[in-house]
Amino acid sequence: MTELEEIGININSIENTEQIISQLMDNYSDDILHLVFSYVKNRTTAEDLTQEIFIKCYEKLNQFNNKSSIKTWLYRIAINHCKDYLGSWHYRKLNFSDKIWDYLPSKSKRVEEEIISKDVANSLMSAVMDLPVKYREVVFLHYYEELSLANISKITGVNSNTLKTRLKHARELLKSKMKKEV
């Protein structure tokens, strides 16, 4: 029995696709939202992208072949969507103008800090958020979403050993960062 059948859904019925997405949202939307935030570091953007991700799932649902679990499949779509966003013209332009603000008088800087402190209240999380994406990704999936490295490998397409190395580097980076702060 497939995972979807287990939760009482027949994937072959179009009338049901809306119901499937609705169920997926009930089960996983908060996880996805948090995951997306870990990439984009902004709440509203994370909400917008999560919305787009579920619409994408709806469009791709008939390509889901039950070979992986629906959760793995959903995460893969979400992560690819985030990476597309981070690589997009829109995002890079936005980031560039952020950099310009750095050279301008202090007002803008304070606004930026306020946003960060609103979004990220504690230092451990903000330290994680400061890690480069490839480290942040594996840390978040492993420690927050509690996924095994094998599963993360399936989701991201990155080799398990590479993931292990990245995790090790991430720990080192974080330790030295924490030391500096103390």
């Binding site: 072959n12 019925s13 179009i14 696709t17 809306e18 997405i21 609705s22 949202m25 939307s29 908060d30 996805i32 939202l33 948090h34 935030f37 709440r43 909400e47 999560t50 919305q51 579920f54 619409i55 709806y58 469009e59 791709k60 008939n62 390509q63 072949n65 979004d119 990220v120 209240a121 504690n122 451990l124 999380m125 994680v128 840390v139 492993h142 420690y143 927050y144 509690e146 991430a170 720990r171 974080l174 330790k175 924490m178």
Partner: protein, 143 residues
């Protein structure tokens, strides 16, 4: 504490408290989906497009890319730059039990069902005399 991430989950959980995907957001997704559902009605599609797809599956099962290539050769451009739509339509026809599909290795193969073949035969017999009846026929066939 050797692992600096040991407390990560609890720590992040606190940061994320109350940060959830709201009902409003969920409804926005559902609304968008409902709008897209209209693509899932036969009347949305052009008569000729439907015909071209059925023709391309007349002799053998094909996977999406093969169908798409063949449509392209026939100068059927409905799916140009919009390949996802082809799959939507294939899925729709599958639901109408005009097509059936089967996964072989990594590809999904579509073929005409017995019902689909019968339907295509009926349609060809009636031929162009009753042009425009294809969709009605399909709706009937899928009842």
């Amino acid at each position: 504490m050797n692992d600096p991430f040991y407390n990560l989950k609890d720590s992040i959980k606190k940061d994320f408290e109350g940060f959830s995907f709201s009902e409003e957001r969920k409804n926005a997704v559902k609304e968008t989906i409902r709008k897209k559902q209209s693509h899932l009605e036969l009347h949305y599609w052009k008569e000729e497009t439907l015909r071209n797809i059925l023709d391309s599956l007349h002799d053998e099962a094909k996977h999406g890319y093969e169908i798409s290539t063949q449509l392209f050769q026939k100068n059927e451009l409905s799916f140009k730059n919009n390949e996802g739509q082809l799959y939507t339509l294939l899925h729709l026809l599958e639901n109408k039990k005009i097509l059936s599909s089967k996964w072989i290795e990594d590809k999904k193969y579509y073929s005409l069902t017995a019902k689909g073949k019968k339907f295509v035969a009926t349609f060809e017999r009636r031929g162009s005399k009753q042009h425009g009846s294809l969709k009605n026929l399909m709706e009937e066939a899928s009842l």
